[in-house]
Every structure is written in C-alpha cells, then in structure tokens.
C-alpha cells in the first residue's frame, strides 16, 4: 500500500502532539510519586521510625529466682531446680508428624501427651511454641539437643521449678507454690506485672503464701528484638531483677522428720517449741501429702483422694485444727483459782465421783470417785470434781482471762495459712455468739476443757511453754530473712506468782513421774531430762444417761469420728525447761495411752538432739523406738545416696 505523504505528515504531527501530552501526564505522575515519597520519608519519617521501633522492640520481664527456704541448721526445705521441657513450633517443624514421631523415639512421652500436643499444635497459631514434654530428664534433653538438626522447630528449654526435697514432711508448714490463677489476681490490688506471666508460680498456702512478697523478688526487664511472628531474634539490653529473699525457719528438719514419722498415718498434730526463744522446732500434722505433686500438676485422682480422705491430709491441724483441750486445760483453771487467792495448793476437795450443780449431776471420769484431793493429786490423777469445785468458786471470767494469758484463744502471728484463734469463752462471748445467757453448767464444763473451749495444738504448746517459764513466750517460725535474725519470742514475765507456778509445775511433774500419775507409763528415765506434763482425753459428744447406765462407753466400740481426742502437753527438762510439746491425736482415745508416748518420744528426740539413748525409755517401749530409729536412718541413707547419684 502506498501512503499519502501528506496523510503521513499529519499523523506524525498529531502523534508528536499527543505524545507530548502523554509524556506530560507521565511526568506529572512521576512527580506525584516523588512528592509522596518525600512526604512519607522526609516529613513523616520520625513518626514512622517510631512505629518501626515499636514493631521491632518488645519489653519482656525476667522472672526473678524465688527465695529459698532453709531449716534452722541450713538444710534445704524449698529450692529451685532447673527443669527441662521440650517445645515445638509448628511453622518451623515442616512435617509435623515426622518430627513428632522422631521425638517420641528420643523422649519418653505417652501417646496421650502426643495427642494433646498435636491438638494444641493444630489449634494454636503456627508460630506459638507448644510444650510437648515437661520435666524431662537431662539425658532426654541432651538427646534432643544432639539430634537438633533432625528435629526442626523443636527447642529444649530450661526453667526453674520449685522442689521440696523432704516431700511431705514440710507440706503443712512451708506449703506449696502453684500457677497464679484468675482468683489469685482478683484478690490482689494492683498486682505485680510478673503475676501476668502465664503459669507464673506463686505461693498458694503455708509460708510460701504468707511470705510471698518476700520470696518472690523483683522482676528484671529485657528489651528484645522480635520478628513479625513475635519470635525473639536477639536481646538488645537487660536490667537484672532481684532474686527473692531467702528464709530460714526455726524448724529443725531432722526433728520434723522424726515427729511426722512418729505420728505416722494417724490423724494427729504435734508442736515442739523452744521455751527460750519461742522457736517452733517442729510443727507436724498428719497425714501429710507431697507438695511436689502440686507443683508438677496433681492428677484429678490424686487430688480427690486427698480431699475425700476423712483424716483431712490437706489441713495443717497444728494451727487450723481446734479441739476441746480436755484435762490439759486443768492447769488454767488451777492457776486462775490460785492467782485469785481462792484456794491454796494444800486445800482438799472431796470427790465422790460426781458433783451436783443446779440440779444437774456432773460426773468425774472415775465413777467410784477419788476421795480427798489436793492440787497435786487432782492434777496427777486428773480428778474432774476438784476442778468443778474450783471453777464454781473462781468464775468463768477469771478462767477465760487466765486461758488467754497462757495463749489459749489467741491467734498467733505465725506465717501459716488460716491460723485459728480458737475459743476461751466468756459470758459476753456466748451472748454475742449464740444470743444466750451463760449458765453455771457452762462454767463446770469449761473447767475441764470441755464445752465451749476450743484450742489448737500450737496454743497448747505455747501454754505449756508459758507455764514452764512464767514468761509470755510467743511462737516464732521465721528465724532469719536473708541472714537477718528476726526478733525472738522470748517474752516478758507474765506477772504470775512464782509460788503458784511452782505448785502447778510440781503437779505436772508427778503426772509423769509419780507411780499414780496418768502418764507414768510414758515417763523419761534419765534424771536430768525428767519431764512434766498433763494428759487430756476430750469428748466430742455428750454421753447420755442411758449410755452411762449401760456402761458401754468404750472408745473402740464407737465409730472413729465419735471417739475421744487424745491430748498431751509437756515441758522438759523439769528443772530448766528447754522445750514445750503438745500432741493431739484426733479421735485417738485416751491421752495417757495414745498421746503421752508420742510426746515423750518427741521430747527425748529433741532433748538428745536426734540421738536419744534407749535407756531413757521405759523398757517396754525400747524395741519399738529402736525399730523406728533404724527405719528413719535407712530412709535417710537411701535419700543421701539418691542425691549423690543425681549430682
């Protein structure tokens, strides 16, 4: 085709014109892009730079190491041990199933754990680390680390977890830690940001909970660079926090171990107190449980078996258990009467086996009656009528006041959970509590530690220590904090007449050293360590007139929870008291048969610093003591061997 040159020239001109328009538009748009660039990169640069930094930098808390807890001799009660766990990130794993299969060949994981991990891996975002196995052994973690290249996305991690080396022995004193819960958070005003860390461990009960602030420490802070998935790429800087404070308890762990073992599987509690400082040398409650189970995460079955046990293994009975003190309260009634000047130690009361008060008959435990009783013989043989008579003369208010001076009905400030005050009843108390007037029968019941009187084993030990020293000794559980000695519970003189105290102590001495004493069978034979004590057998129900007539009140015939509590309080050595002890065996039967031998064994163990000679015990008890000592020695040796093996 031949082209018209004119046509061609016209087309050329128009093309050039249009091309210039087009070029102009393009130049304009490029200019616009340049302006936009300038706007973003020059004018708004600071703002975006800040945003980029916010993207990149994350502030993370460094959890502090929790303070450790030691006994009075420096033995570890609660420590932090490295714990290893294996986490996996799905995104990085590639073939998840293959990696899980390889992992289960290296590490001991149950199929259920694998199943749970797989569910988590599929449910959560691909970049979230999921814990595959917790608390794996060092050997397993090493195997995983060595095989790292074959296990993409799998990371062995090290953390600290709480460990209680003596297991159940201190469960009721030190308590345990557990992951912080929503309930915990709701109770705390303005909680430490640390508590917001998922599964952060805090004290749940016992010293761990009561001294939480001290043990927790201060969090450190680190700034890390993260990628878009939130994974930490590197650490930019860090400010270390402070580890929690170390606590030293007044408890002697060897003694504690002995007392727990001595209480065995009975539902019982025992407290051993230093008369000089008020130091609690042993605070035992049985049955106990292994707090390490809770740290690991207790199974539903194990937990149910703890809560459904009628011996209540989760309850620290030393401070939360409240029992009618029974005859161990007679020292209170006696001291109240002596201090009031109403009676003297030598005055006698005739016991015919019962006392008629306001048309009601109150029985002595000995139906035939004790005959003529003075202070020493009445306490020694635990005559009830003598104390009925004293109480009627001195009145409930004086008795109640004396009880409180001796530590009964008082909530002591020891760092254990829910320390109970108990009851030292007064007329006003009954009116407030029940809206009823006090009747004379209430006074009669209170005089022998029945009726409204309720005390804890801790209070009974304090009472014993106060009678022994005449000072208001108070219990001390925390000996030192980070090496700083805490004030002792030595206490001031109570202002009681020394003569009256001496009379009561002498009477207590004959309880366990006079052939007719209720605790003579559980005496200490070594002269320098003679002990003074008092038995108690407190009823948990009323004995009906019908039962009395038929005479079937044998404890063994009753269901366990309706049997009498067995109690015993004592101090030793008699001449220069060093320790005070209380023992309560719930529904154990008689104080002299059940509680007194335990208290004696515990006392000897404490006085001889763990190595009492067999000839300190009455001959009939020696083989049993020997067997217990041998068992404990074997257990300790086995534990030490295991600890060495671990190290």
């Amino acid at each position: 085709m031949r082209r018209n040159p004119k046509d061609s020239q016209d087309g050329q001109r128009r093309l050039t014109r249009r091309a210039l328009v087009m070029g102009g538009l393009q130049a304009g748009f490029i200019g616009l892009l340049g302006l936009r660039m300038r706007f973003l990169q020059v004018e708004q640069a600071d703002e975006f730079r800040l945003l980029a930094e916010e993207n990149r930098i994350n502030i993370r808390l460094i959890p502090p190491a929790r303070g450790q807890i030691f006994d009075r001799n420096g033995a570890v009660i609660a420590e932090n041990v490295p714990s290893y766990r294996i986490t996996m990130v799905r995104e990085d794993a590639g073939d998840m199933e293959l990696v899980l299969r390889r992992l289960s060949a290296l590490v001991d994981i149950t199929p259920e754990e694998i199943e749970r991990a797989r569910a988590d891996l599929e449910k959560l975002r691909g970049d979230t680390p999921v814990t595959i196995a917790d608390r794996v052994s060092w050997e397993e973690i090493s195997r995983v680390a060595v095989n790292g290249p074959a296990l993409p996305g799998v990371t062995p991690e090290v953390g600290l977890s709480r460990h209680y080396p003596s297991g159940p022995d201190f469960a009721h004193v030190v308590g345990r830690v557990g992951p912080v819960s929503d309930f915990d958070l709701s109770r705390i005003e303005d909680p430490d940001p640390l508590l917001r860390i998922p599964r952060f461990q805090i004290g749940k009960v016992g010293v761990e909970a009561e001294a939480e602030e001290l043990l927790r420490g201060k969090a450190g802070i680190k700034r890390v660079e993260v990628n878009a998935a939130g994974r930490v790429m590197r650490e930019l800087d860090r400010r270390e926090g402070h580890a929690g404070g170390n606590l030293q308890l007044s408890v002697d762990s060897d003694l504690q171990e002995f007392v727990q073992a001595r209480l065995g599987n009975q539902s019982a509690a025992a407290v051993v107190m230093d008369c000089e400082t008020g130091d609690l040398l042993a605070v035992a409650s049985s049955p106990s449980y292994d707090p390490n189970l809770f740290v690991r995460g207790i199974s539903v079955g194990d937990y149910a078996s703890l809560t459904e046990n009628e011996y209540r293994p989760l309850v620290p009975k030393t401070v939360q258990g409240l029992y009618p003190p029974g005859s161990t309260f007679k020292m209170v009634t006696a001291l109240a009467a002596l201090e009031a000047g109403i009676v003297t130690a030598d005055e006698t009361v005739y016991c015919p086996g019962h006392l008629e008060v306001a048309g009601r008959r109150f029985h002595c435990w000995k139906r035939a009656g004790h005959g003529s009783m003075d202070l020493e013989s009445s306490l020694r043989e635990s005559c009830d009528v003598y104390y009925y008579d004293l109480a009627l003369k001195v009145g409930i208010e004086k008795i109640s006041e004396m009880a409180r001076r001796l530590g009964l009905g008082v909530a002591f400030d020891v760092p254990m959970s829910s320390v109970k005050a108990g009851v030292a009843p007064t007329k006003a108390w009954k009116m407030e509590r029940f809206g009823q007037d006090w009747v004379i029968g209430d006074t009669v019941n209170a005089s022998i530690g029945q009726g409204y009187v309720l005390t804890s084993p801790l209070q009974l030990a304090v009472m014993s220590a106060r009678i022994a020293t005449g000072r208001s000794v108070t219990p001390r559980l925390i000996k030192s904090v980070d090496g700083m000695e805490q004030p002792t519970g030595h206490g001031e003189d109570m202002g009681l007449d020394p003569g009256n105290l001496r009379q009561v102590r002498r009477a207590m001495f004959s309880v366990s050293n006079n052939r007719r004493g209720t605790a003579y069978a559980s005496r200490i034979l070594t002269d320098e360590f003679r002990m003074a004590g008092k038995t108690g057998t407190s009823q948990v129900r009323n004995i009906t007139a019908d039962e009395r007539r038929r005479g079937i009140t044998r404890n063994e015939d009753l269901p366990w929870d309706r049997r009498d509590h067995a109690l015993f309080v004592n101090f030793a050595p008699f001449d220069a008291p060093r320790i005070a002890v209380s023992v309560v065996v719930e529904h154990g039967g008689g104080g002299s048969a059940v509680a007194a031998p335990i208290a004696r064994d515990v006392t000897l163990q404490a006085l001889y610093d763990g190595n009492p000679p067999l000839d300190a015990y009455p001959a009939k008890d020696r083989s049993r003591i020997k067997a217990l000592q041998d068992r404990l020695r074997r257990e300790r040796e086995a534990r030490e061997k295991e600890a060495q093996g671990r190290a």
Binding site: L15, R18, A19, L33, G34, R56
Partner: protein
C-alpha cells in the same frame, strides 16, 4: 512499498546492528535490574539464594532475548502483530479452560522451561496489534466511529478474559494501555472525554448506591475500598500490608537505615518482601535518596524511549515504542502507588526488580521490540 521499505538499504545489517542498539535504554535496564539483585540479596538476609541468583540468570537470559528480538527487522514484527495478538487470545482462552490455578487468581501455562502468564504476554501483543492497526489505518478514518469500535473490541476482548480469571489489576492495565494507544494514534479527544466522564459517573454511582436496594458491589468489595482509603481501620488483615509497607518506607527517612539494616523487612513485618513489596525494602534501607534514584532511573528509561519514538519516522515503530514505554510506566507507577498507599493493593510487581521469571522475560522481549524499532528506523 512503505516509506520504511525505501530506506532499508540504509539500515545496518549483520553484527553491526549491535552498535546501533539504543544503548542508553539497555544500560538503564541493566542498572534497574542490578538494583533488584541488590535488594533480593538483602531480603534473603545477605544471601544470593534463594532469590538473587536465579533472578540474575533470568535477567541474563532476558537480555539475550532482547538482543535477539532486536536483531529481527521491525517490519517482521509488524507483520506478525495480528498473529501474535490472536495467539495470545487463544492462550487466554486456553488458561481459562485448561490452565492451572496458582497463587489465587493468576493463571499460568507451563511451557516446560518457563511458566507463561498469557495476560502478561497480552499486554505487549495488544500494543503491537494497535500499533500495526493505526499504521495501516489512514489518518482520515481514525476518528470514524466504525474504525474506533474495532480497536475498542481488540482491547475489550482480552480485558474480559483477564477479568474472568479474575485479575482486576491486569484488566485495568489493558484498558488504560490500549486507551492510551488510541489517544496517541489521534482518535478524537471527545471519545476520551466521554469515557472519563462516564467512568467518574460510574464511580459516583457505586458510592451512592452503597447501602441502598440497588447496591452495585458486594459488601466485601466495599470493605476493600474502605481499607484502601483508611488502612488503619483493619490493621491485622488487608490493612496490614499497606500499614507495614508505609512504616517501612517512612522509617527509612532521608538516607535509609543502611544496606541489610532494614528492620521491617529483615524481621518479616513486610509481606511479599521479595515480590510486590520489594520497593519498600529499598526505601527502608536506602531512604528517600535510594527510592528517588530508582524512580529517576525508571523516568530516564521512559525519556530515552520517548526520544527514540519521536525521532522515528515510521508510524508503527514510534507507536510501538510509545505503547511499550507506557506499559512499563504503568507497571512501576501502579506498584509504587500501591506500596506508598496511593492505590489499592493489586498484584502488580515492580518491573525488573521484583522476583519473578515470566514477567521479566516478557518485559525484556518487549524492550527487544523497542530496540528493533530503534535499530531498523528509517534514516
């Protein structure tokens, strides 16, 4: 015989043609591609794999392809324009019915060596066809409605096929590119005014109809528009890309954070950092200076193409050069607008810089046409 054929005897022949290539354009292409290698090396964390090395090989192959295309006389390309266009329409039909689906909407044809995206090829063959058409059409008839309707059909046919894929970005590029060809060829401006007015009216109608009974778009489509207009409304999903991209750009500042120091890209805050969003990495690490320099390189390529086209007395050649330069312009303009928050996120790569094989080969072949037109221009 056309004017072109009269002057064939002045056209260089044989290996001498190499000397007559448009070397400024060729060198600028190498420069832009090198920026791409640098950035791909950087986003891989200072490594030639997995992106920089294959990209370099492909560019080398593309450069050879460009030279080969440039050696073939331009009149050959004019003669095969209609065939090329027809073939690409067939390919579009092919992927519509036989092609495999990958990466959402993009459809490929696997040629064994490379996987070809017919919509990429169509952008160039459409330009070739329109250039050939207006070279053939006498000037008098250019604005005649019948002769206007025909190229409109040429444009809308592939546009409709691409739209069905669905690939809104590419179909818009086809319409704009084709329309620009018609404008350059001298079609009366009133047609364009009418189309632009109708377009504005349609956009207004779309917005006005929202929430009424005659709503023109689906709800999710409106939400996409909302996200474009205000990305902070939806920071985690669709808005995330554009927000992070602007943060990367802005935090680069005047001189940038330094090579391989871009935190946004290195820490994976940037999506698609090696493909569509590679410009943000450049802007973050080299700042305004680096970003503006790349823009300048692109602008220079356009300028040298426009000079070459204006000096070419052959109508087909100069229309073809204008058309290809414009297509190239649309690529980088849309991509940069997108990462700078001026346009919605549509999948348009940054030409020669973004990682990707077939787009680069097609583009280098197109520049081969530009070179051929330059080498074989009437003298």
């Amino acid at each position: 015989m056309s004017y072109l054929e009269y002057t064939v005897k002045y056209v260089p022949a044989g290996p001498r043609k190499l000397l007559y290539l448009n070397w400024p354009v060729a060198l600028l292409l190498v420069a832009v591609a090198s920026v791409g290698f640098l950035m791909l090396y950087s986003v891989a964390g200072g490594s030639f794999s997995p992106w920089a090395e294959p990209q370099m090989k492909r560019f080398a192959a593309g450069f050879v392809l460009m030279v080969i295309v440039a050696m073939v006389p331009i009149w050959f390309w004019r003669n095969v324009a209609a065939v090329a266009y027809g073939a690409s329409i067939l390919l579009l039909f092919g992927v519509e019915f036989f092609g495999s689906v990958g990466m959402g909407a993009q459809r490929w044809i696997d040629l064994g060596i490379i996987r070809l995206q017919p919509s990429e090829v169509t952008k160039i063959t459409l330009v070739m066809l329109l250039a050939a058409y207006y070279d053939w059409l006498p000037m008098k008839k250019v604005s005649h409605p019948l002769w206007v309707a025909l190229p409109v059909f040429f444009i809308l046919l592939p546009t409709a096929l691409v739209l069905m894929q669905p690939d809104l970005g590419t179909s818009l590029l086809l319409v704009v590119g084709g329309g620009a060809m018609m404008f350059l060829a001298g079609v009366h401006w009133a047609y364009f005014a009418a189309v632009i007015a109708a377009g504005i009216g349609l956009v207004a109608a779309v917005f006005e109809s929202r929430g009424t009974s005659w709503q023109l778009l689906k709800d999710y489509q409106y939400r996409r528009i909302d996200t474009f207009l205000d990305p902070s409304q939806d920071p985690l999903n669709a808005g995330y890309h554009i927000t992070q991209s602007k943060i990367a750009l802005g935090s680069g500042g005047w001189a940038g954070k330094g090579f391989m120091q871009g935190t946004q890209s290195r820490l994976n805050f940037l999506p698609e950092k090696h493909t569509d969003f590679i410009f943000t990495t450049l802007a973050e690490e080299f700042g305004f200076v680096g970003a503006a320099s790349l823009l300048l390189l692109y602008a220079l390529i356009i300028v040298f193409c426009v000079i070459s086209a204006l000096n070419n007395k052959d109508r087909f050649s100069s229309l073809l050069i204008f058309g290809i330069a414009l297509t190239f312009f649309l690529f980088f303009a849309v991509n940069m607008s997108m990462v700078m928050g001026l346009a919605p996120v549509v999948g348009v790569p940054l030409p020669l810089v973004s990682y990707g094989g077939s787009a680069m080969l097609v583009l280098m072949a197109a520049f081969g046409l530009v070179q051929s037109a330059h080498v074989h221009r009437p003298r």
